[in-house]
């Protein structure tokens, strides 16, 4: 019957979804006219649990909000507490934080690239990008002791130093990655089949992206030059970051932004390893946090906001996290209407959703 609408539940379990999210797609034939999201499948009550734990224990808790950008969660939390307690982090620790942050960005973007390739059936690109990602995982384990959840950030600095030999290993790893990226980049940028699926898919205008409050690569793919690293937290004061922007506003532009950001991250790691000063890696933080603060950090998916309220005891009064995927949900729901059902996975993956982050 032409013109009649049907609703298809997309998720919570779907082959392309790494995490459970449900989208109820209102379809007219094969065309999406509306998308209704349903979240709540991986809610773990982390914000409430953070009020029960000591503020030092919370570092390990907030790292577990997201498996992919775990270090940046700990960084945002520690920076917030350091602001409340007036702790000045030693220079070497600031540089080490940048190195681990950028390694996290690299492995997050490689993971995303694999998932995006998987969403349109390009299995060999999926395999190759995840193979390259293993190099980052290995260097993370060698420098920090863990593959993903590295638990190195503490209040007042970092827990581990990277020795000279390991710094050389880090440089070797980014060299290998750059070589791999030189093979991957032309495939994503120029391949006919990839462009057929990505160009024009899930397009939003710059105004829409701004009005809907999109962050990270979704905003930068619409030409909005906004990257929180520009403001100079950690060692980004010394290492200048220029936001990578594209103007297409579609899935192809978002893919280009992320691939170019990987090159940028490689550059930042090299600069940080070159310029890192010698010295202490942590200062002791005494007392308890009191007052309220908003701490922001640029994650691979965009800007994360931590609101921390302490009352002078070892437990926090309130911890609130606004994660980048939550901010990118509204733009996603604007991208979906009008697209074909077959393009829904590509559009959803193009914002790099992290549902565990969103629900906490």
């Amino acid at each position: 019957m032409p013109g009649s609408k049907s609703i298809i539940p997309f998720g919570p379990q779907h082959p392309v979804f790494p995490e459970p999210l449900q989208l109820r797609l209102v379809l007219e034939d094969e065309k999406v006219v509306e998308a209704l999201p349903a979240i709540g499948y991986v809610h773990r009550g982390i914000e409430k649990l953070a009020e029960k734990k000591e503020y030092t224990q919370n570092i390990f808790l907030v790292e577990r909000i997201c498996g992919i950008c775990s270090f940046m969660h700990a960084l945002a939390y520690c920076q917030g507490i350091e602001m409340l307690m007036d702790v000045t982090v030693p220079d070497r620790a600031r540089y080490l934080r940048v190195i681990w942050s950028e390694l996290h960005r690299l492995h997050s973007h490689l993971l995303w690239l694999g998932l995006l390739a998987d969403s349109f059936g390009f299995e060999s690109l999926f395999m190759q990008s995840w193979r390259s990602r293993e190099a980052v995982m290995d260097i993370m384990e060698a420098t920090a002791g863990g593959r993903v959840i590295i638990s190195t950030c503490i209040i007042g600095g970092v827990r581990r130093d990277i020795s000279e030999e390991l710094m050389a290993e880090v440089l070797k790893t980014v060299d290998v990655l750059e070589r791999d990226l030189e093979i991957i980049r032309p495939v994503v940028f120029d391949d006919y089949s990839v462009k057929q699926r990505l160009v024009g898919t899930g397009r939003i205008t710059s105004e829409q992206a701004y009005d809907l409050g999109s962050v990270g690569p979704v905003a930068r793919a619409c030409g909005i030059a906004r990257d929180f690293r520009e403001t100079g937290y950690a060692a980004y004061k010394e290492i200048k970051v220029t936001p990578v922007t594209e103007t297409g506003g579609d899935a192809y532009a978002r893919a280009r932004v992320r691939i170019r950001e990987m090159y940028q991250s490689i550059d930042i790691v090299r600069q940080a390893v070159r310029d890192i000063p010698a010295g202490d890696i942590a200062v002791p933080a005494r007392g308890n946090p009191e007052g309220e603060v908003i701490s922001r950090v640029e994650q691979p998916r965009g800007e994360v906001i931590y609101y921390i309220k302490g009352d002078g005891t070892k437990n926090l009064e309130r911890l609130r996290v606004r994660t980048p995927t939550f901010a990118n949900m509204a733009p996603l729901l604007t991208m979906l209407p009008g697209c074909e059902l077959a393009n829904v996975p590509v559009i959803v993956l193009s914002i790099d959703p992290c549902i565990s982050c969103t629900e906490r």
Partner: protein
Amino acid sequence: MVSLLKSVINNVLRKPETRCYPVERRAPFAGSRGHVEMDPSTCTFCGVCARKCPANALTVSKDPRSWTLEPYKCIVCGYCADICPKKSISMNPNHGLPGGI
């Protein structure tokens, strides 16, 4: 066509990227946080580790002297090894089997 041929030859000649686990195992990195180890000869059973453990995985009692690690709760963060006043707790780089120590 030429680049395709190059890829094909490369793929035929290259060793596989994967490892034949468990026959062939990668040696752990020196600083890897594999599992928690405790040396009972130096431990004073002060209980600092149990109070500070983010996952409440440790139970320590002075009388009778006991130190228990619940492997299913432990998140292998290594915080206990950092804060132990006698440095009795250390991280062994070898990964334990899931759920076992």
